[in-house]
Symmetry: D2
Subunit: 331 residues, 4 copies
């Protein structure tokens, strides 16, 4: 993801220059710097992200490091007063998120944008706009679907579905409906035979919102079909669906045995992963971050949004264990 | 519905003849008999359904009467040993359903088909076949959606959503997955402003199945958009959706102000009600019933299926009050 | 096709009884009679269709014989004054069609329905109704697509595409637009490598209508993908498309190598042939024919429609050779 | 279009700076310069495009001027040796296009990219890639559809449909199939009642390609429904369609009278114009042009492509008058 963002900054983002990259694997960082240095000037290399953050050539920072080191790195950014685009999660728990928020507040101006890229996806922004317009009346229900092809990590655990996948649905529900989640219930179907041992996959979650709206979520990370992200919003005066795969191209193909009598099929490919599905959203997110940074502002998800999604996911992990609804302790 | 079935029997069903109709409103019954008598011989008229059931010209009976009188009418059918197609619900509660089942058993051969017409809808039967084929692996989840245009009845109550609408989803879940529902949880979002006073609409329900599969259901009877019935089945090796409205015709229309610069839209109409959406399913259901009756058999949903769906709906009404999962006391 | 119709009459058509079948292969006819005799009484067997036509048990006749013998058989039906549903083509050329029309006229009442089953297909009838309603203004263009999986016949020739496939598009254009075709131009792309030697496949045809409307047609009988029949109608105030395959079921499937990183696809099957695609249309056509026959009427395409489509196809075969537009000599 | 491109260069294109704008309406140019100057430095204003072309601050030029002045402006660009992105048409006729090509050749390196933006549209590039991959076998047919909402210009003439709208289909056919058009036939249906007096709209055109492939085109500029651009490619082993409007969002809406019994509809909006439909394509086109210019290269459509599309359109205007196929005099 870090290399993705570096390439994006180097070649597709206006009014920004990739000035440095950091990676403990310095050789890898150097290779990336060599690859990208040609476009907009030399790219400096740091082994330690904290060195990059204090590099005087660096005006703003994208954090694509593991969530466990975000707190330390964010605090370093605040010390220098530089804007930071922090990939989700903000931090790993509520206490550390609150410390981050506190430190940012001490700076006196917002500095953090959390990387919930869907807020910049054209389909999501159109749905957001539609729900906000009131044309569908009040929104009563969201049905969210989130499927991945498979789980690359042999150490994968059920909680990671909540923390890394469901967290996007948490942010989308809050953002699309413009209100907080007050309780979450995680329901565990019998897992697919393709799930790693002991992993509950798929999971069905129910959010109850402040207004009484209800959100159902399917997260299924070993779907084996591809990356499918869909939302249906149901309002008092209509419904809307985004995230269907059939926009781009519809093809027919020959039958499995060619001419010998078997008819073919119609359809198209499913996106393999979030990089492909949300490529444009990432570009728009980073461009919006650069533009806002130049104006001294923050757009998209704030550190408070990052903290609240962490809070909901913590409640979700508790519900994953019990199956019962767990209230979210809102401030 | 009774008149619908009478017209169907008179004009679209092979190997059957409409011989009699019953209605306390004898004039209405006579008008129907006059209308339909021409096609296949005279149609006799009864004010009392029990008189129709013992009419020697009647070989088999379709019950489209209110659920509260089904028990008495079914028992009368059993006494004569005639086959009966009974619109859902079988009866209003579990105890009366069990009495019906007992009486049918005493006859020594199955006589009742319950009118769950979706089991005969081509889309549903294809999905049933697909799930049964194993090509999608084990089915892990169903997502069911059931929307009506609006509620005609000013005495409508929340429980009727469970008993009259959700009951179809109950039967579909049992039939599609081939297993029993072990618990049901009804979640109540804040109602639409179009709901009658005190009515919880929409409702979200969760079924847990014997195998651990999970079924989510949206039932929304004041959707104001039309009659939409959809299912998505999610298996270990793929997913499938039926019930989308866009099969028939895709149209574009001019903009709201014609030529003055506003672009139009694409799309098509939504079915207004179940009669339109399931017209073909009803024809196929009644034909299958006639064919099975001639062979002395019963196809489709049995009295046991009718009873089990009643059991689940009773648990659902309990959960509607508490919001908590309620177990279904399976035999 | 004859056996198909026999099964349809025996089991799915109201107010009709299959009384006899004819086939020079008497054993095959007897097997069919044995299979279907149980349902509605015994089925008589004739080796010679002309014997069936004069069989006193036969009240109406379905002709599914080759077009070359239609004239003789139709004249025999007229002699007895029985109604006849004649599979297209009415006859093989204009002169014989005119003789048939003359003989039918001599009887004094219409007796022939030509088997253009699309006129009874629900999608087509809805489009017909929409175009007739004037809601789309005058219809300016039709774009028709007709694809078959492959050609079973090793003696297949380019002319047969015009006579057996394009003829349906000819009838649809006349029926949907309610006017005559005044000229036809057949354009020959380089053939697919899957075409038989010397066969021009696909073919693009252009019809000019009396009103000046234009119809484009693609006929591609070795498409290897399946049976696809589509029409787009373009009016002054909107357009409409029918015949898309995605109504029934939308599925996702796993990637070609399962979990090892390849995403799957979404879509569904294409109908293998016209029997599957137009199964319902055939049922509705034959039922409408039986109903009309009982009233002494003819519905659907008349002998005149059959003759006019033959006229257009003759012009089409001439244009196939020259590539130039050929006028249709309307009466 | 010029202002559009100026805004694009000022705010969405990497490695480029908007340094000057030219417009005979100097006030309008100054307003645009004031609006866009803030982002990337001051923007100079010229009344005469030729002054802009020789402005030493200008490294590359986007021509969005009328086609009739392209020749003079392109020659001025060649004199300075600056790269130029020239909106279509290259020039108004073949002779002037050839003079442009000759002058560019005299410079010794390619300098012109013609603004056929569809070559950069993600849907089109995916289709181009699919056809090039050979997975669908040889491409036998293209069916192209091009509809506009309405014609803003009261001086609109039939020829302008060929020159301004069909020209995109000409370029797409050449590019997608990778070969030249050898003849064009324009067929004139009776015009829509919404066409201006004497204007032939819609038009159906047929291209024959060198390989024998055939392309059918509908161009309908007073469709009153919106901007619809679609292509279906038919190959020996499958077909593919792009340009359908239903990718983004599917909505349902309430019936026209709300709750009183009328069901609503499903669907979505149609793009109002090419700016909305091809917004992303324009961005990608201009970025690709900037990137190529920095490398001293030309991508996309060349001056030769511009000339060849002009040649085909000239033949098309001839066929519009006669209705007969007109050969394209290829070099």
């Amino acid at each position: 993801m870090g290399a993705d963002h570096a390439r994006r900054l180097a070649s597709r983002i206006v009014e920004a220059r990739l000035s440095a990259v950091a990676d403990p694997d310095v050789e890898r960082a150097q290779a990336l710097a060599d690859e990208l240095g040609g476009v907009g000037g030399p790219v400096r290399v740091h082994a330690d992200p904290l060195d990059l953050i204090v590099d005087p050539e660096v005006d703003a920072v994208v954090l694509a490091s593991p969530g466990s080191v975000h707190e330390e790195q964010l605090l370093a950014c605040f010390e220098r007063g530089v804007h930071v685009l922090c990939e989700k999660p903000l931090t790993m728990d509520s206490a550390s998120s609150l410390r981050v928020i506190e430190a940012e507040r001490a700076v006196g101006r917002p500095l953090v944008q959390v990387g919930f890229m869907r807020r910049f996806d054209p389909e999501y922004t159109r749905l957001h706009e539609l729900l906000g317009s009131g044309r569908m009346g009040r929104t009563l229900l969201l049905h969210q679907t989130h499927r991945n092809l498979s789980v690359p990590n042999p150490d994968f655990r059920s909680e990671m579905i909540v923390r890394d996948s469901l967290v996007h649905e948490v942010d989308c529900a809050r953002w699309l409906l413009g209100e907080e989640i007050v309780s979450i219930q995680v329901i565990s179907p019998t897992p697919t035979r393709h799930a790693l041992d002991g992993v509950v996959d798929p999971q069905v979650s129910i959010f109850r919102m402040e207004s009484g709206a209800v959100v159902t979520n399917e997260v299924f990370v070993s779907s084996r079909t591809g990356y499918e992200v869909r939302v249906e919003a149901v309002g008092e005066d209509g419904s809307a669906i985004i995230g269907r795969p059939w926009g781009e191209m519809y093809t027919t193909t020959v039958g499995p045995q060619g001419v010998d009598g078997a008819a073919g099929s119609w359809g198209g490919p499913i996106a393999p992963d979030y990089r492909v599905r949300f490529e444009r959203a990432y570009d728009l997110e980073v461009q919006a971050w650069v533009d806002a940074t130049l104006r001294g502002e923050v757009v998209g998800a704030t550190s408070r949004d990052g903290w609240l999604s962490t809070l909901v996911c913590s409640a979700g992990m508790e519900s994953l264990a019990s199956g019962r609804p767990v209230g979210v302790a809102l401030p």
